[in-house]
Amino acid sequence: MDYARFVRLRSPIWDQFESRLSAAQKEPRRLGHADLESVALAYRQILHDHALAASRFPGTGAARRLGALALRGTHWLHWDRGDRVPGLRQFFAETFPRTFRAHLAPLAVAVSLFMTAFAFGACLAVVQPGIGLAILGPHAIEGLRQGHLWTESLVSTVPPVVSSSGIATNNMSVALAGWAGGAVLGLGSLYVILLNGFLLGAVLATTVHYGLLGAMLEFVSAHGPLEITLILVSAAGGLSLGQALVAAEDLPRRLVLRRASRGALVLLVGCLPWFVVLGIVEAVVSPAPTVPPPLKAALGLGLEACFLVLAWNPLLPAER
């Protein structure tokens, strides 16, 4: 068959497929079963014509047109169902707890590294008080000398509603950075874990130096435990990404990366809503002098327990 004859015989099918595909793309809900079958049949014919044109008439307009039509058809008719989004209830009752359980090893690594950095920061700030000045700045240190924590300004300069939104978005940015940093061979996640551990240790040791540890613990007790947990869980997702990039086990790297990234995404999405709650607690409850310290501590422990129970979901049977 010569080229022109091929075009004359087959182009009505191509035109029909293109118009049907365009109509289906515009209004997929109006597509009936018979319409879908006819599109699928025409798609198969397009693929075969494309194979013929690519081998017999390479470089021609028909070959290019069929290539483009075949790609459009493939894109519209094939959908990666592995990425189906579960409903909210299924996500928090099943998907997130299963993923959390599967990530206990990187979470343990993240906690160990955090504790190590915390101890290092605390020791360094004890033997070298200048560290506190470098981290907190001269204004905050002057406040500590006078017996005031810098956190008091959280409610004295702007209303809690502004602090809440600022804190929540900042914490989410840190969690996202810890998660995304895992894509750089895990180095970004390591950085976020170690930096947060070091800063917390150094700041607590600095408040010890000025006799304000009690006030500092009172401030962090309501939001601190869960905040650190969420950052560590997000960073654990980042570490699993890094692990998949560095050591892909026996499977093809593409599959390992896919599995690791989906798991890490579930961890991140499961953590993000909690940052909104934490933003409100940190801006409204933590700096409030009217809320008694035991109540703040109870709230902090309660939030932590709530998250861990929801993340673990004891009602969910273990995977065999």
Binding site: Y3, R8, H50, T60, H78, D83, V162, R258
Partner: protein, 235 residues
């Protein structure tokens, strides 16, 4: 099908239904960077518009002002982090920048990615702002880090109907000769008229030599370029 030096299909080839090979028109770092630039312009305009709206509402009162500041911070965060993923999910792999350049995100198998893939490739965006372009330049499939993790590619989305396809060719012409004539007709509108006409006359001479019957059917009242264009229309 494009093949490497060893004769194997190139990395940009995927196997469709019935093992028919499909060559993916991979978008390079240049067009992708341009699309990203346009998208960041959209993000900038979105943030500016959101800020202006919050500012306008905040003039109603001091208490309203603080609330609007809080809303601005939250909105800024969601526009900055959410624009790319939300628009790609809603428009099946096309942000406004990609739409303007004619690009689309597909899976490694040329299928439609799921929402998780869009979320992953865009959650990594902050890292890709630093390392994305060199990674795309080094990768034969022009994948940035987010694409590797999500299992996605960015391809050109050609408008199939715009291709010039001849319906009649002189007898005995090979596919290469037909492709040459199609390429001329496709490019003729962009050429200087005198150059296009000169080339068209040369091509008509070739047709007259190879298939006098077909040459005789061409409308002599038309210019040489339009007469050749009739071959793409005639049945």
């Amino acid at each position: 099908m494009e093949r490497d030096t060893a004769g194997r299909p190139s990395e940009a080839t995927v196997l469709g239904l019935d093992n028919v090979p499909l060559e993916l028109p991979i978008a390079g770092p240049g067009s992708r960077s341009l699309a990203a630039f346009l998208d960041y312009l959209v993000v900038g305009i979105g943030v500016f518009a959101w800020g202006a709206l919050c500012l306008a509402v905040s003039t109603l009162g001091k208490q309203t002002g603080w609330w609007m500041l809080a809303l601005f911070l939250v909105g800024f965060f969601f526009i900055e982090y959410g624009y790319f993923a939300a628009v790609e999910i809603a428009r099946e792999g096309q942000t406004f920048g990609k739409w303007a350049i004619g690009l689309r995100v597909v899976t490694r198998e040329a299928a439609r990615p799921g929402p998780a893939a869009f979320l992953i490739r865009n959650a990594i965006r902050s890292v890709d702002l630093l390392v994305g372009v060199p990674l795309m330049a080094l990768d034969p499939l022009s994948r940035r880090l987010g694409d590797r993790l999500a299992g996605t590619l960015v391809v050109y989305e050609h408008a199939a109907a715009r291709e010039m396809v001849l319906r009649r060719t002189p007898s005995g012409w090979s596919a290469q000769e037909a492709a040459l004539l199609e390429a001329f007709l496709w490019r003729a509108p962009e050429m200087e008229p005198w150059r296009a006409e000169r080339l068209a006359r040369q091509l008509i001479e070739c047709i007259r030599h190879d298939d006098p019957a077909l040459a005789a059917e061409m409308d002599p009242s038309l210019g040489p370029v339009d007469a050749l264009g009739g071959l793409a229309k005639s049945a």
